[in-house]
Symmetry: C2
Subunit: 244 residues, 2 copies
């Protein structure tokens, strides 16, 4: 069953009026009687389509769904802004893998130059990708895509576990920090993970993050692309915490 | 330092004559005296460029490199042939994450239709992607990209750990099999992981694989795209086995 995140208003009125109408009607070719999952980001329900119009879709609620597909804590990825559209892969696959928040972070070696005129449309696109990936992967909420920020304007004080994924750690054979941090995460904790852009991190950035309480950690023995580091971290965290 | 996989002949003659000449000269803008890593897939060396010509690059070997960035066993991914160019992402990121072999596998719900005329050029492209990803991620060998095969023509008898990544297992709340299998892998063992195409697996395929000794396992609590399943498996295996 396809999932749709709808507004609390739409849920209350049992009437979908957003872009999802187009998706239900034309992409999924929905018919009256078909079942979908609707969620307002708090609760999820199995619903049956009752009317399919051009501008609205009405539904009846059949039952509430149980089960919580979320990690027991909140992981924010501070992604050094990468080249091209790699940030979109981070958002898409990161959402499937359980990320709570992605913060596109401008770091010294980010090649990307922010064009203020294009910022809003870029963020809108990122948020659409997160919503679609959350629907496809059956998340119970849509991850937060924060405004694009400079590393030094981020307030890290509310995070308690803070990890820098650092290639040099891998080269030096450091293989203990990441697992140690992951095993020690506490329920409901806020976790910050910083991943550098393609060129890696400047030494001053490492020192800055260390001064904010981060630790450097290697993720495996090979050199990973920036987006692969994110996939690795989130997969390993799910493996440690969700699989038994 | 950029790594290049070269032939044993090139290593013996200390002379690169392949496409890598173009890469060294024009992409990396190499100069005499620059250092690179060369490997014949068995041993790796730090080398210094001594002559950079249009058709060949000569080098001196400075020292052998130690350290083994490989998993202590051999993972083959039997990837149900997915839509579009997702198989290329599986090869690229799978190589970074330590895969031994990728077998593009035709399954019932694979939308992809094999055009025999294009098969060779497709495989050539896949192998080039694997070589470049192995160089970039500092692997000690280039993963094998097998011929495109039908599921039922594959001989699974030499594999001892065999996992089907199965969405239905996740939906049923099965969360123990994957970790159990991963923890039990033995050194030098051959491990087979089957990942379905987008439409999932047909029941007859599941039964066939079960009869060949596979077990069904969920990877986390969310529904992952086909390529994300591969990233998850390999990351989790590295986390379990390489991190301490």
């Amino acid at each position: 069953m396809q999932k749709y995140f709808i507004s609390s208003n739409e849920l209350e009125n049992k009437l979908i009026t957003s872009d999802d109408v187009f998706h239900i009607k034309n992409v999924m070719r929905g018919r009256v009687g078909d079942k979908i999952i609707v969620s307002d980001g708090t609760s999820s329900y199995i619903a049956k389509l009752t009317v399919i119009g051009n501008k609205e879709v009405a539904f009846d609620i059949l039952e509430e769904r149980d089960g919580n597909p979320e990690l027991p804590f909140f992981i924010s990825i501070f992604q050094g802004y990468p080249k091209g559209d790699k940030i979109e892969d981070v958002i898409k696959h990161g959402t499937e893998l359980g990320v709570y928040e992605v913060v596109p972070t401008l770091m010294k070696r980010s090649v990307f130059k922010l064009d203020p005129k294009k910022k809003d449309s870029k963020l809108e696109r990122f948020r659409k990708i997160a919503k679609e990936a959350a629907e496809q992967s059956d998340r119970s909420y849509v991850p937060v895509i924060s405004d694009i920020k400079n590393l030094k304007e981020i307030d890290f004080s509310e995070y308690t576990t803070k990890i820098i994924c650092y290639e040099e750690s891998a080269k030096n054979g450091e293989l203990t920090q990441f697992k140690k941090c992951v095993k020690n995460i506490k329920e409901n904790e806020k976790v910050a993970i910083n991943v550098g852009p393609e060129g890696g991190k400047d030494e001053s950035e490492i020192n800055y993050l260390l001064s904010k309480g981060f630790v450097c950690a290697a993720v495996g023995k090979r050199i990973l692309r920036t987006e692969t580091v994110v996939f690795y971290c989130l997969s390993a965290i799910s493996y440690e915490w969700e699989l038994k």
